[in-house]
C-alpha cells in the first residue's frame, strides 16, 4: 500500500468508506468467534464425558461460595473498562481511560489469584488432573479459561502502559478497543464455563 501512497493514488479505503465498523473490528470479531468455538468444543467434550460416565453429575469436593464470589468479581470487571475507560476515551479523557483500565486489571488479577487458590486447595485434597477423569476435564476447561484471562490481562497491561504514554486519542484507540472486546469475551465465556462446571451439578441435586 505504501507504493500506492507514494504515487499519489488513494488507497481503497479512502475511495469508498461505506462507514460501519472498521476492518480491525471485524478481524477481531472473527478471531474471537473462532476462539469461542474452541471453548464450545471443550464444553461439548466435558458434557460428553460426564454423560458417558453415567450422568450422575460431577461435583467438586469443595464449596461453591468461593468460585461464586470470584465470578461476581470477574463479571464486574467488565464494567469499569466499558463505562469508565471506553466512555472516557470517546470523550477524549485520558484520566478516565487510565483509571478504568486499572480497575479492570486489578479485578482480573484478583480473579486469577482466586483461581490459583482454588486449584491449590483442590489439589491438596487429592483432586488433580491425573486423579480421575473429572479432574482432567475440570482443570482443562477452567484452566483454558484461566489462560485466556492471563492473556487478556497481558493485553490490557500493554494497553495500560500505552495509555500512560498517551498513545490513544479520541479518534484513534483501536488497540484499546480490541483489548476491551477480548476482555468482554473472556468474561462472557466464563458465564458458560461456570454454569456447566459449578451450577449444572446443583440442578441435578
Amino acid at each position: 500500500m505504501s507504493v500506492a501512497y507514494r504515487e499519489g493514488i488513494p488507497a481503497l479505503e479512502q475511495v469508498h468508506d461505506e462507514g460501519g465498523r472498521s476492518v480491525g473490528w471485524w478481524g477481531m470479531m472473527f478471531f474471537i468467534a473462532s476462539e469461542a468455538l474452541i471453548f464450545a468444543n471443550l464444553i461439548a467434550a466435558y458434557l460428553y464425558l460426564e454423560i458417558r460416565q453415567g450422568g450422575h453429575g460431577w461435583r467438586l469436593p469443595s464449596e461453591i461460595w468461593y468460585p461464586l464470589i470470584n465470578t461476581v468479581i470477574l463479571l464486574g470487571s467488565s464494567a469499569p473498562i466499558h463505562y469508565i475507560a471506553a466512555k472516557g476515551i470517546e470523550k477524549g479523557s485520558q484520566r478516565r481511560l487510565i483509571w478504568g483500565l486499572l480497575a479492570t486489571i486489578v479485578m482480573g488479577a484478583i480473579f486469577l489469584g482466586g483461581q490459583v487458590y482454588e486449584y491449590s486447595s483442590l489439589i491438596s485434597e487429592g483432586f488433580t488432573p491425573q486423579s480421575q477423569l473429572f479432574g482432567s476435564a475440570f482443570f482443562t476447561l477452567t484452566g483454558f479459561h484461566g489462560l485466556h484471562v492471563t492473556v487478556g490481562l497481558i493485553f490490557l497491561l500493554i494497553v495500560f502502559v500505552r495509555a500512560l504514554n498517551g498513545h490513544f486519542t479520541k479518534e484513534r484507540h483501536f488497540a484499546f478497543q480490541a483489548g476491551e472486546m477480548y476482555w468482554h469475551f473472556v468474561d462472557a465465556v466464563w458465564v458458560f464455563v461456570f454454569s456447566i462446571v459449578y451450577l449444572l451439578p446443583l440442578l441435578r441435586g
Binding site: 507504493v3 501512497y5 481503497l12 473462532s34 467434550a45 491425573q130 476435564a137 482443562t140
Partner: protein, 561 residues
C-alpha cells in the same frame, strides 16, 4: 500498515536497505501477490515431498512380500503422505491462490491485514518444516493422518499397546497441526474481512466471481471447523504429557471422543479442500466456453448449502464403531443430502459448456478432467454413505480409491487448471501449451490406472494401511498396475516441472489478457503493479472486464444483475 517512509531522492546516494534487495523484498513483503506466490511455491515443494512418499508406498506395495520399507517406516510414510498432502499441499496452495487472485478479482489493493497475511505464510513454512523434520529424528508421526486414539497414546500412563514406551512421533503431529491451524485461522479471517470490506464500488456480493464466493465459504468453514481440531489435539497433548485421561478407556475416558472431535473438523475439512476447486472450475469453464456461467446463483448458494451441511455429516466416518442405529440413519441421510448441492454444481458446469465455443487449452482440459474425475469420486462417495455397504468396504482400498478421485482427480486437477490459467498473470509468460497437453493426458491416464483398480482391490478385501500382503490373495496384478500408474503420474509432474522452469525463462510473452477473460484480475498488467489498479474500477455486472472490452454487448445492458 507497513508504510515505508522512504522518499525517492535520486540525488542522494544511499545505502540499500535489506528490505530493498531482491531477497529482502521477498522476505519482508506484505504484498498479497508476493505472499500468494510464496505460498504456492512452498505448497508445490511439499507436493513433491508428499509425492515421493507416495512413490515409496507404491514401490513397497508393487509386489507381494515387499522388502523396501519395514512396517514402522511404512506407517510413518503413509501418515506423513496424507498429512503432507492435506495440510501442507492442498490447503496452502488454495490459500496462496486466493491470496493472489481474490484481491485482484474484487478490485482491492491488498488483503485487509497484510502483516497478518505474511505471518500466516511464515507459520505454514516453519510448521511444515517442523513436521518434516521429524524424519531426521526417526520419529515421524505414525498413526495415520486422522491420528486415532488410543493408538496415539501408546505407552502413555495406563494405555497398553505396542510400542510400550511413549515416543515423540505423535507430538510432532499434534504440535504441527496446531501451528498450521493458527496460520489457517489467520488466513481465513483475513479473507472474510477482505471480501466483506474491500470490494470495489459496484462489486456487490451477487456480482463477485465464483472463486471469491467459494473462498469465502471455505474461510468460514476454516473458522468454524478448525477449533475442533485445536481442541482435539490440545487434549491429546495433555493426555500425553500431563497425565489426563480424556481418551483413555481404562480411566473412564473415551477414544471415541477423539473421533467425534476430529471428524467434526475432518469432514468440513474435505470441503475446505474441494470448494476452492469448485471456484476455479467455475472461472475457467466459462472463459473457455465463451459463455457466462450457467446458473450463477445456484453455483454460489449450493456452495453455501454444502458449507452448512458439511457440519452435520461427520459421523459417516464412524459407521463401523458401533453408533446407535438412529445416529447411523441420521448421518447416512445427511451425507446423501449433501450430494444434492454437489450435483447441482455438476449440472451447472455441464450446462455452461453446452453450446459454447469450446477451446481446449490446457486450463480447460484440466477443468474438464476435474468434472469427470470428481464425478467418479462423488458417486463412490455416495456409495460409502450407504451404511451396510460401508461396513463392507470401510478401511479398505475402496476408501482410498474414493478419496483419491476427489483429492487427486478433484483438487489436484483444479490446481493445475488454476496454475495454467493464472501463470500468465503472475509471470507475464505463457506455459508451454504442447507440454501442458502432454502433462494432462499423462495425468489423466496415470490417475485412472493408479486409483481405479483400488476400487476392485477394496472389494476383494485388501485393507488400507497394510505394509505388505501375501502372494496368494489374488491382489498381485492390480497392485503392480497401480504402481505403474503412480510412476506415470510422476512422469506427468516431471513434465510440468520442466515446463515451469523453461517457460519462466523463455516462455512466450502473454500480454495482459491471453485468454480474453471476464474478470477484473485481467484488467491489470501481467504481473500487476504492487498497488494492482491505478484507479479502482467501478463494477456494473458479473463480468466487469468483459463489459469493458465489449461495451456494445456489456452484461449490464442485457441482463439485470
Amino acid at each position: 500498515m507497513a508504510t515505508s517512509t522512504i522518499v525517492e531522492r535520486p540525488a542522494l546516494v544511499r545505502q540499500k536497505r535489506f528490505s530493498e534487495t531482491y531477497i529482502g523484498q521477498w522476505l519482508t513483503t506484505t504484498d498479497h501477490k508476493k505472499i500468494g506466490i510464496m505460498y504456492m511455491v512452498t505448497a508445490f515443494f511439499f507436493f513433491v515431498v508428499g509425492g515421493l512418499e507416495a512413490l515409496l508406498i507404491r514401490t513397497q506395495l508393487a509386489l507381494p512380500d515387499g522388502k523396501v520399507l519395514d512396517p514402522q517406516t511404512y506407517n510413518e510414510i503413509f501418515t506423513m503422505h496424507g498429512t503432507t498432502m492435506i495440510f501442507l499441499f492442498v490447503m496452502p496452495m488454495f490459500t496462496g491462490l486466493g491470496n493472489y487472485v481474490v484481491p485482484l478479482m474484487i478490485g482491492a489493493r491488498d488483503m485487509a491485514f497484510p502483516r497478518l497475511n505474511a505471518f500466516g505464510y511464515w507459520i505454514v513454512l516453519f510448521g511444515g518444516l517442523f513436521l518434516q523434520s521429524s524424519f531426521v529424528f526417526h520419529a515421524a508421526p505414525d498413526s495415520g493422518w486422522f491420528a486415532y486414539a488410543p493408538l496415539t497414546e501408546c505407552g502413555v500412563q495406563g494405555v497398553n499397546c505396542i510400542p510400550a514406551t511413549p515416543s515423540i512421533n505423535m507430538d510432532f503431529w499434534a504440535l504441527g497441526v496446531l501451528l498450521l491451524g493458527i496460520s489457517s485461522i489467520a488466513g481465513a479471517l483475513n479473507f472474510v474481512v477482505t471480501i466483506f470490506k474491500l470490494r470495489a464500488p459496484g462489486m456487490t456480493i451477487n456480482r463477485m466471481p465464483l472463486f471469491v464466493w467459494m473462498t469465502l465459504v471455505t474461510s468460514f468453514l476454516l473458522l468454524f471447523a478448525l477449533p475442533s481440531l485445536t481442541a482435539a489435539s490440545g487434549l491429546l497433548l495433555l493426555d500425553r504429557h500431563l497425565g489426563t485421561h480424556f481418551y483413555q478407556a481404562a480411566f473412564n475416558g473415551d477414544p471415541l471422543l477423539w473421533q467425534h472431535l476430529f471428524w467434526s473438523f475432518g469432514h468440513p475439512e474435505v470441503y475446505i479442500l474441494i470448494l476452492p476447486a469448485f471456484g476455479i472450475v467455475s472461472e475457467v469453464l466459462p472463459v473457455f466456453s465463451r459463455k457466462p456461467i450457467f446458473g450463477y446463483t445456484f453455483v454460489a448458494w449450493s456452495g453455501v448449502a454444502i458449507g452448512f451441511l458439511s457440519f452435520t455429516v461427520w459421523a459417516h466416518h464412524m459407521f463401523a464403531v458401533g453408533l446407535p442405529v438412529v445416529a447411523q440413519a441420521f448421518f447416512a441421510t445427511s451425507t446423501t443430502l449433501i450430494a444434492i448441492p454437489t450435483a447441482v454444481k455438476i449440472f451447472n458446469w455441464l450446462a455452461t459448456i453446452y453450446g459454447g465455443k469450446l477451446s481446449f487449452k490446457t486450463p480447460m482440459l484440466f477443468a474438464l478432467g476435474f468434472v469427470a474425475m470428481f464425478l467418479i469420486g462423488g458417486l463412490n462417495g455416495v456409495a460409502l454413505a450407504i451404511v451396510p455397504f460401508d461396513y463392507q468396504v470401510t478401511d479398505s482400498y475402496f476408501v482410498i480409491a474414493h478419496l483419491h478421485y476427489v483429492l487427486f482427480g478433484g483438487a489436484v486437477f483444479a490446481i493445475f487448471a488454476a496454475i495454467f490459467y493464472w501463470f500468465p498473470k503472475m509471470t507475464g509468460k505463457l506455459l508451454n501449451e504442447r507440454l501442458g497437453q502432454i502433462q494432462f493426458w499423462l495425468m489423466l491416464i496415470g490417475v485412472n490406472v493408479t486409483f481405479f483398480p483400488m476400487h476392485i482391490l477394496g472389494l476383494l478385501g485388501m485393507p488400507r494401511r497394510i505394509y505388505t500382503y501375501a502372494p496368494d490373495l489374488g491382489w498381485n496384478e492390480l497392485n503392480l498396475l497401480e504402481t505403474v500408474g503412480a510412476f506415470i503420474i510422476a512422469a506427468a509432474i516431471l513434465v510440468f516441472l520442466f515446463n515451469f522452469v523453461t517457460s519462466l525463462r523463455q516462455g512466450q510473452p502473454a500480454g495482459s489478457d491471453p485468454w480474453d477473460a471476464f474478470t477484473l484480475e485481467w484488467d491489470t498488467a501481467s504481473p500487476p503493479e504492487p498497488y494492482n489498479f491505478k484507479t479502482i474500477p467501478v463494477v456494473r455486472s458479473r463480468r466487469p472486464f468483459y463489459d469493458k472490452k465489449n461495451p456494445e454487448t456489456a452484461d449490464w445492458k442485457v441482463a439485470v444483475h
